[in-house]
Symmetry: C2
Subunit: 586 residues, 2 copies
């Protein structure tokens, strides 16, 4: 039995989290059992028009849903738990194990989506061990990260122990006093780790990532110097940072008004669970803002990334109901812009400064540190766990390459590591690691109404570039227009008078129609021979050429053709004709 086991490889299939930061989702499979590690979402890039969230392609899981024994969650960030509610609409997960804070946040999401009956959430404590199926035993190892209650996991499999770091930094002075359980890592290193999967986010950054605590004195100084109101924006999910800000508000005797749904939500849960400790009377409702003197006020808000609908963005645009910026305000951006958000963030800062606020931002201020370890932290991780095989994860391609180079420099042979892509099937054996194929990978885009497919995104792109011109024409069975064609422009640039454009369109239609009809010799000919689709395409082509020539732009041209039913039509064809007419328009 044990011999037999050794011949089957463990399959590790990352479905998201590579080639991007976001939507971390990983499959571990052995025999007929699958466990999942995290299932996150990503946020859309600017080209993803109308998209709210981005998920990995879950085809492989849908097709193998019967194998799922459960899920492990490492921590409560959106890019690790944000996809779960969507997936539970497609398949059940018998049990999800994870830290208390993550499970509490997840519970909310599942309830909101109406899928909380599709799984069971179970909170774990540090060093707790859980069994999933007959092949997997997972031990949760406390780590340090920007959110409280975060874990590295050791997955015991029939082939050996696989360690997945989760997201981590190595913070020797953590804000909540909960240290990284380096002893447990070292113990696994001593006993033997088959494979390490490790966070690569900051693999391009030399040195160590400073401790979260290093932010404290810098914020303290800024708070001490502020004479009017203080506003601070940071990630709602950076529980330690929020904790520091609340401690400093107390120290500087300011009441805290929390603005933004996610910020309120995280603070409530973190206080309930004891990750944030502060008295109730520290908080006041934002509605009571005008009852407190400026120098006794601290507003803590979302919007550190310039997100269009977040509180700080609306404040900067003068669109927030309760908060107007005024001279004397000190506004602190305790977060760095994520690439892609830079312009939105600096525009927000500029607007706030123009309203008279003193804005404190930027790397030189020491008011933000990363939640992810840098190169020296990665090396320490490798040194403690001494893995036989290594897979850099959680990062874009060049970060994975850098991380792999570091591992090589520490003596792990090149053939003992793989630099992988989403969807790769990694086969891990006791004595080898390799990529043995691919499952469907890629992304699923979700907007208000559901999954959005590629062709729809392409259409939206074209609509965005040049707009759309719609032409509707109704003709009779003699090929004559029965009314002046309707035309409608949206998102199209033209200096041309609408009536002139309409005339040109009308003339183009008449020419095409009469060319086509002059070949018919009888009424019966026409009824039998009109190739509606061909006619529609021909007209659409003529219109497209007309518009490109006259408007010098390339809008989408939509042409709708209608053929009224005639009173004397033979009853047998009655149904066919109008539906043909309607269908050419679709």
């Amino acid at each position: 039995m044990s011999k037999n086991h050794n011949k089957l490889p463990i399959k590790i299939i990352p479905l998201g989290g590579l080639h991007e930061i976001g939507k971390n989702t990983c499959v571990f499979e052995y025999e007929d059992e699958i466990i999942l590690l995290d299932a996150g979402l990503a946020f859309p890039t600017d080209e993803m028009h109308g998209i709210n969230i981005v998920l990995p392609d879950m085809t492989y899981i849908r097709e193998n849903r019967h194998k799922i024994k459960g899920m492990i969650v490492t921590h409560g960030h959106e890019d690790h738990i944000g996809g779960i509610a969507y997936h539970l609409k497609q398949f059940d997960i018998p049990v999800i194990y994870g830290p208390r804070l993550a499970m509490t946040l997840l519970q909310d999401k599942l309830e909101e989506a109406g899928v909380s009956d599709r799984t069971t959430l179970k909170s774990v404590v540090p060093r707790e061990t859980v069994k999933l199926g007959k092949n997997f035993v997972v031990q949760f190892i406390r780590n340090t990260h920007s959110i409280a209650d975060s874990f590295t996991v050791a997955i015991h499999t029939p082939l050996g122990v696989i360690i997945h770091t989760g997201d981590f930094k190595i913070d020797h002075t953590p804000v909540d006093g909960e240290h990284y359980d380096l002893q447990k890592l070292a113990e696994y290193g001593e006993k033997g780790v088959l494979c390490l999967l490790s966070d690569s986010t900051n693999a391009e950054v030399p040195g160590h990532t400073p401790s979260e605590s290093s932010v404290y004195p810098n914020l303290d100084r800024i708070f001490a110097q502020a004479e009017g109101r203080i506003m601070v924006t940071t990630f709602a999910s950076s529980v330690h940072r929020v904790n520091l800000i609340l401690q400093l508000a107390q120290k500087h005797q300011r009441k805290v008004m929390v603005v933004g749904r996610s910020m309120l939500n995280v603070i409530a849960h973190a206080r309930n669970l004891g990750y944030i400790k502060c008295p109730d009377d520290l908080f006041e409702s934002i509605k009571s803002l005008r009852h407190f003197p400026d120098e006794k006020t601290l507003i803590l808000t979302t919007g550190s990334q310039g997100e269009p609908l977040a509180a700080m963005t609306r404040i900067s645009k003068g669109e927030h109901r309760q908060i107007k910026v005024k001279r004397g305000d000190t506004i602190v951006f305790s977060a760095n812009p994520i690439p892609g958000n830079t312009i939105a963030v600096v525009n927000t800062i500029d607007r706030l400064m123009m309203e008279g606020a003193t804005v404190v931002y930027g790397k030189q201020q020491g008011i933000h540190v990363s939640g992810h370890g840098a190169q020296e932290d990665h090396k320490l991780m490798l040194a403690l766990t001494k893995p036989k095989f290594f897979i850099p994860v959680h990062g874009e391609h060049r970060m994975l390459v850098k991380h792999a180079q570091m591992a090589q420099s520490m003596g792990i042979p090149k053939e003992n590591m793989v630099v992988i892509d989403n969807g790769d099937i990694i086969e891990l054996r006791e004595d080898s690691i390799s990529v043995a194929g691919q499952v469907p990978s890629g992304i699923e885009l979700v907007d208000r109404s559901g999954i959005v497919h590629d062709n729809v995104m392409k259409e939206r792109q074209q609509l965005a570039e040049d707009g759309v011109i719609t032409v509707a024409a109704a003709i009779d069975w003699s090929g004559k227009l029965v009314a002046i064609p309707g035309t409608h422009l949206r998102g199209v640039v033209t200096a041309m008078e609408h009536s002139l454009l309409q005339q040109l369109i009308c003339r183009t239609l008449e020419t095409t129609l009469s060319d086509r009809w002059k070949n018919f010799t009888s009424q019966v000919d026409r009824e039998l021979e009109v190739d509606w689709t061909g006619l529609k395409n021909e007209i659409e082509g003529s219109l497209q050429r007309l518009i490109r020539r006259e408007l010098q732009s390339r809008p989408l041209v939509v042409f709708l053709l209608q053929i009224p039913e005639k009173p004397m039509v033979r009853s047998t064809r009655r149904r066919k004709r109008p539906s043909a007419a309607a269908s050419v328009a679709s």
Copy 2:
């Protein structure tokens, strides 16, 4: 007369270049004379769908075109000369003075746009003095910047000397040996400078900007280590960088193949004018790529910013006809991503690495330096020119604020400087500076077909977010549909069968129409009373509600209504009806 002069202020009106990097355009006005300093363009942000370039609002210049005595150009970058060809379609500029390289590049642009007869271009040499109108005398002072042949200008006015730095860094070891003319700056400082306008791009960056020459040894090392082909991408307009790369190609005995229209163009002009000196046989056509061994090849391309159509981007996507990336290639990004381009650049790098290339990029490599001075350079500029009044220009708001703070720290009183916005009218007198109003500012967006207005951009945004549903219906005078309505979806997400959606639309139309028509008691009623616009709006409203409910998305709904002419219609109304019908659709 002189007394009288002293009472009128100089007006300085920046139309672009503030609150953004790009489209630098500045007006100097005295009595009935205007001179312009530069007229650049900016590139669109991601939200500007379909837009090719961004220009400042030129209303003020159009309205005062009769006052224009000429233009001064400081250097040949797009954000300083790229707008001129567009503006010359709207107004003449009697004469444009500028450096030889800028004038040569500009000449090409004007010829391409067919407007070279609308102005006269005159090249200037260092320390040359030119007179514009009766009030302005301008001296050109050699400066150092990333493009060759760049100038700071001293504008002599009836009130005193105004110095505009242009874009500058202070580079004591310039690649072309042309030093900043600090002596002339000092001389002006000694004689007295009324006002300094100074480049603020790097006002947030501490220290000095390193010399362009500092890049040389780092590129040299990388070239020496490369075993296969070398590809280098940088800004085409960074003439000094291109020069260095060509020198190094010679040193390492590699043939240079230049790819990308702008790169070819700038190299040709810079060689003609002697800013780049290298033998003809250094260059080979990219078509002969396969005839040279890899280790004897250097490909110099555009695309350092991940621009979708640039050579390096197409190479990374495998879409370039002549160049396919292969293992052994060393690809050097000798440019930092401009904010907003970061994601495009790193995606390009990732794709190149996945093809097997070694990609060298990033700040730590020392292969790129800025063309703009940092804080210590700014201070030196202020120290040399000792201006009475100070206006930070060329930067976003927070950079202007930082630059103003530096000037204050050096003893210029706060009331002697203004932090301004595009369109501000600065009134500069011998003893005061103030903002005395505003001219129309903002932006003009240009796409293939011309200026694009705000409402069109909003329509494009909506189309991009949710797509468009078009419905066309033809009805007769009894309010009945004469055919199944045509429907067409683009960029819309729905799981609903097209035929079902069509049925629902048809039913909605029928209901609305019959509700409306049941109030009419006679044929004459209908013909007199149908409020076509009201009817169209009502139907559009019903359709919108239907679609939001059934599809749970919010596409644009376009409804086109057509009323066929009836055979028995009274001839007096014959023309009116169909045109009313057509117009409701527009």
